[in-house]
Symmetry: C2
């Protein structure tokens, strides 16, 4: 069997990204509304991971995000083992929302759940309480209130037996100087914050890999746990890192939440830089298992999965050690992964120890 | 064939409402987070249609809402007639979000789209541009900016060929005196604002009715249009009414967006009042068609559909005519539908001309 790719697993980002661009074009016609509210839209905010609006004394932030297909794995593990992983699924849903929000320096203040089922009976299942409790625990960890939600039953749209999880967050940046804007410079340090596992990205490919394994999700991975259990480790929430960085006035030149597009996301900023990664850490065992079992080649793996890095920030080289200390004091493992380099007009991610290079044309988000 | 009900059409609100209550209980554990943000949660806001947070000089509002199954009808009409109704679908999606937001007096400032497909190819279909353009047009009408969104492809979760539409809004109340709180009093006038048709509610039952008609969505209704076309009339957006009421300092004692639960929603406020409706207007022809074709009895129809009323506000009897004038100047048809009556501890909606009564136990939202 040849190597598996995310596209061969049925996820094609081309039409998704095309529709995103179409929406951004239509959305541009709505900006005139802001004037009557006394608000302005900061230049360049379109295409960032969170939308923000400027008020006289703060920024308001808004994110809508979805969990993806991860809970299909929780459904299957429930069937196989009788164990509910829906508390972790609730955490994952909040994590994927708030980790986007904080990339602009906003702290989440309110998070809402969107939970659509095909059959309302889902909501009477025992796992529904786990979902609610996990969602609430994650809100507490993110310092946000759970401020509402929507729970429709959508017959003939959502497959019976599952649930589509998404949600939104309102955030705020105050004082305004806490906003993270693109201030990347030649020589900046790339600080990588460890992930706990796959988080919420690449799960369609993981599901495809499970289908091809004789023991499926019950296959043991290198740490002795089952594939399914490891996939369902709860995502990390990086809010405490940003809160701590703001408290010590650590200047962050940019921040990236590593989700879709894997490490290609490191070049999310609009400017033209080469992101040269020189220091890799062994990722959690789940990733080697995925590479081996797919098989997924390294180039595809780093273009799809977070490979042990859930969040990245960029700081001046002089601030690198202070940033690591900030992350560790906030409870995250972090290291200097490499350097931002100005190389004319080139834009690329280079993973030197693996000989991998992703040029700008492999990431088309704007 | 016996009369059809929303429950027999496959929508059972009991488990949905049970899960909502479970979520509200878990959400209550997150409120402590607000203190570190210098925010407070107003008493009694849980269970209202929009969540709000109090800042020193304003309220921030947050709503997450979904369209439901209405676009399945647009999909079928596209197949039958070749005509795209996805511009209206985009308007409906925004309408259902912002009409909830304004019930607390918040004006929408940012709206985000959540659009989940089963197959990414949907996003390359011609109707996707109509959806984006309709969504943008509705944001402009609501005075809000389209501030982002999420467009996942969820294989094995969403049925291929359709799209699940939802979204969120951030709103603001400023000055704080514009907040609509429950100030209902004996003798208040019930002001009903006309709808354009079914809006986004009761569509599962409408789809079931179409299945039982020999000509389905192509069946002519009384105004000579097809059933499908009439169902797909775009929802009205009531933001301009609230903006105008605020501009003339019209005291609104409560506001209700008539969605799920039909006219039972008129008793949404927490207090114990009887809402006595005495003046009905003939609803748009689509409703008589639904009643006749289901058949749907009047009691079920008014408990499910908006029956020609999309939004309601309550004002002192002395302000009733001023409120009607306000609505008309903002472009809405409106009339005094009845009176709020304090009758001991009783809570009910009475539709006198039809002899219908809904007691408090028919609406369990809190």
């Amino acid at each position: 069997m040849g190597a598996m790719s995310y596209q061969s697993a049925g996820v094609d980002y081309e039409p998704l990204d095309a529709f995103k661009r179409l929406c951004q074009s239509a959305a541009a016609t709505t900006v005139g509304a802001l004037k009557s509210h006394g608000l302005t839209e900061p230049a360049g905010i379109r295409g960032e991971s969170a939308y923000i609006l400027e008020t006289p004394d703060s920024y308001l932030a808004h994110v809508e995000e979805g969990l993806g297909t991860k809970n299909l794995i929780a459904d299957e593990m429930l069937r196989l083992t009788g164990k509910s992983y829906y508390s972790n699924i609730g955490i994952d849903t909040v994590a994927t929302i708030v980790n986007d929000l904080i990339t602009v320096g906003a702290l989440p203040i309110s998070v809402a759940m969107h939970a659509a089922v095909g059959d309302a009976a889902w909501f009477t299942d025992a796992v529904s309480a786990d979902l609610a409790n996990g969602f609430a625990a994650a809100c507490r960890q993110a310092g946000a209130v759970w401020g509402g939600g929507e729970t429709p039953a959508l017959r003939d749209m959502v497959n019976p037996g599952t649930i589509i999880l998404a949600g939104s967050a309102v955030g705020r940046i105050t004082p305004k100087s806490n906003r993270i804007t693109d201030r990347l410079q030649n020589g900046d340090a790339i600080i990588l914050l460890a992930s706990s596992g796959v988080h919420t990205n690449g799960l369609t490919l993981c599901r495809r890999i499970a289908q091809n394994l004789p023991n499926g999700y019950l296959t043991k991975i290198d740490d002795g746990r089952s594939f399914g259990e490891a996939l369902l480790d709860a995502s990390l929430i990086y809010v405490n890192f940003i809160t701590t960085a703001q408290r010590i006035n650590l200047p962050l030149h940019y921040a990236v939440h590593l989700t879709g597009h894997g490490w290609r996301k490191l070049m999310r900023a609009a400017g033209r830089f080469t992101y040269r990664l020189t220091e890799l850490r062994p990722p959690p065992p789940i990733f080697n298992f995925l590479i081996r079992s797919g098989p997924v080649d390294a180039r595809e793996a780093y273009a799809t999965f977070n490979m042990g890095v859930g969040f990245a920030v960029f700081v001046s080289a002089a601030d690198a050690e202070r940033c690591i200390g900030c992350a560790k004091s906030a409870g995250y493992d972090a290291w200097v992964g490499g350097t931002v380099i100005k190389d004319g007009n080139r834009k690329a991610v280079e993973i030197i120890p693996l000989g991998l290079t992703y040029e700008a044309d492999t990431l088309n988000l704007r």
